[in-house]
Symmetry: C2
Subunit: 348 residues, 2 copies
Amino acid sequence: MPENREVTIYDIAKHLNISAATVSRGLKNNPMINKNTRKKIADAAKQLGYQSNTFASSLRSKHTHTLGVLVPRLNSYFMSSVLAGMENAANRHGYNLIIAQSLEDAEKEKLNAETMFNKRVDGLLISLSYNTQHINHLEPFFKRKIPVVFFDRVYPHNESTSIVINNYGAAYNITQHLIEQGCRRIMHLGGNVLRNVYKDRLDGYRQALNDNRLPVIQQLYLTSNLSEQAGIEAARYILDMAPDDRPDAVFSANDTAAVYCMLTLKAAGIRIPEDIAFAGFNNDPISKVIEPNLTTVDYSGDTVGNTAVTNLINHLKGDSNLYITNSITLRSDLVIRASSLKKQIARN
Amino acid sequence: MPENREVTIYDIAKHLNISAATVSRGLKNNPMINKNTRKKIADAAKQLGYQSNTFASSLRSKHTHTLGVLVPRLNSYFMSSVLAGMENAANRHGYNLIIAQSLEDAEKEKLNAETMFNKRVDGLLISLSYNTQHINHLEPFFKRKIPVVFFDRVYPHNESTSIVINNYGAAYNITQHLIEQGCRRIMHLGGNVLRNVYKDRLDGYRQALNDNRLPVIQQLYLTSNLSEQAGIEAARYILDMAPDDRPDAVFSANDTAAVYCMLTLKAAGIRIPEDIAFAGFNNDPISKVIEPNLTTVDYSGDTVGNTAVTNLINHLKGDSNLYITNSITLRSDLVIRASSLKKQIARN
C-alpha cells in the first residue's frame, strides 16, 4: 500500500487475520478481548503507523483537549517560565497547548483570539497586550461558555478567573524597604497603566510614599515600555538633572530597565547604592549577575502557569467551577540584595 | 436558544430571514452573493457566536494546519527566542503551533511525539533531549511522510532537514581568538557529546589547539549540564588546582556556566581577563550584564525558529521539497567583549 495512505483498522485486521470488530475493541482496550490479542493489536497498530482517531472523536465529543495560550511576547524570561509551567500541568492531564503571541498589539491579539476560537480550544489562557483597551474580542468565548483564564495582565470580568500576584503590596513593600534604607527621593520607572500590573505597582509605590509623609514628585515618575533602551534613557534623564534634584533611589517596574539604568549610571561614575539605591521587579537571571546584585520581587512564572492551567482543567472536568472564582493571588517575595542596602554600606 | 448550543448556518439564516444556502455561500465569500449580504452574514455569524467548521474541514482535507514543536525545555532564553520566531512564521502562513517539552528526558520526548502524531500535526519541529539515543520514536512520522525538521540539537536522517549553525567553526574561531590573546592553557566546559552542538563545539576547540600546536589537556576539559551550579563547580575545580596548573582561559559551551564560573572566581580574587580570560556561547542577556562583559557567539534563536517553520510550510505547500535538503546552516557571529581581551589590558 502507498506509504502515505491512512492506515485503518481494516489494515490491522487483515495484517493479523482477525476481524475488524476485534481490532476496534482491542484498540479501545476492551477486556472482552484476550490480553495477548490486545497486545498483538497494539503492536501491529504501531508497526503499521495507525493513528488513533482523536480527531474524529473530538468532533463527536466537541472536546479537543486543546487549550489556547495567548501572550504578549514569547521571548521573555517570565513568559517562558509561565509556558513551562503550563505545559507541565497540561501534559499531566492529557491536554495540549496551542500558543500565539500578540507582539504587544491589540489588533493581533484580536486575530489570534479568533483563530483560537475557530480551532475550538476547550479553554483560553490570556495575558493582555500592552495597548489592549477592552475585551470585546473575547465575547465569542463568553457566549459559548468556553472558559477564559486571565493571568498576569488581567481584565476584570464576571465569568473569568484571574491569576495574579499582589502587585500593589509587593510595590508597597519594596518602596517601604527603600524608605527604611534612608531614601527620600525615590524615582519610579513604570509601564502603561492600562495594564493592572503597572497600575498596581505605581499605586503601591505612591501609597508607601504617602504613608511615610513623603511627597509624590511628578518629575520622579517616568513611563516607558521598560526595555533596555528605556533603562538607558532613564539614566540619561537622571544624569541631566541638577545633582540636588536627582533621586536617591530608583524603583523600576521590571528588572531589565533597572539593570540597564544601573549600567549606564555606573559608567558615569554614580555609586550604587551609595548615591542611588536600586530595586527592580521579576527576579530575572540578570538581576543576580549585575553588580551590585539587584533587589527585586520574585514570583514564579512556573507557578502562575501551573495554577492557571490546573484551574482551567479542573473546571473543564467539572471538579471545580471557575465562574465562582474571581481571582487567585499567588505569593511573591521581596528579595533584598546589595543594590538597595544603603545602611549596611554606611555602617561598614 | 441555550447559550452553549452550537450555532449553525440555519440559526444565521433564520436570524437574517434568508436561505441557509445563501448563508453557506456568504460565509465562503462566494461572489455570487451580494457584497452587502455577505457583510450582513459575517456580522450575524460573529454576533451569534458561529464557529467556522475548520475542525470538520480538517477531517475532510486531512490537514490540520497545526505544527508540533518538541523542545528540551521551554524556559531558556534561546528556546523562547526560537519559539517567538516560529510563532511569527506560522502565524503569517495561517498555521498554529502545538508545543511540548521533554524536560531533557528521552522517555518524555517519546510520549510527546506520540501525542503529536495522534493530534495529526501536519509537520514536526524537534530539538532533541539531553539523553536521547536514537530516533525510533519518530518512525511513525517518517512512515506516514509527515515531514520532520530538526533544529539546534539535530540527528542525521535521510528524509529530514536540520537547521543548525556551524558549531564547529564558531568554537574553532573563539578558541583561535583566545590563543591570539596569548592564552595557552584553555579550559573547555562542555555538554553531553551525544548532542551535535556540544560534540561540534568540543571538536572545534580541539582542532584550534592542534592547529596551533597546543596540547589538548584532559584535565582542562569538564562536562556537565552547563547549569549555574555547574559553572560554580567548575570555578571550585579551578581554585582547587595548583596555581601553575590553572587554565589561563575558559571557553564554555554556554553563557550560563561561563557567567557563574566568572562570578565565583571573581569572588575568590581571580582577575578576568588578566588571570583567566573567558568566552561563552549563545549571547544570552546575562552576557551583556556580567562585568567584564562576556565574549560569546551570537546566533539568533528567532532566525532558527523562523527558518525551520518557513521551510516546513513551504514543503507542505509544495513550494519546495524538504527531503532533498539535508541541512541548513545559519550564520553566527563571534562577539568579542572585555572578558577575553587580555592584550588590550596589557597594553593599557
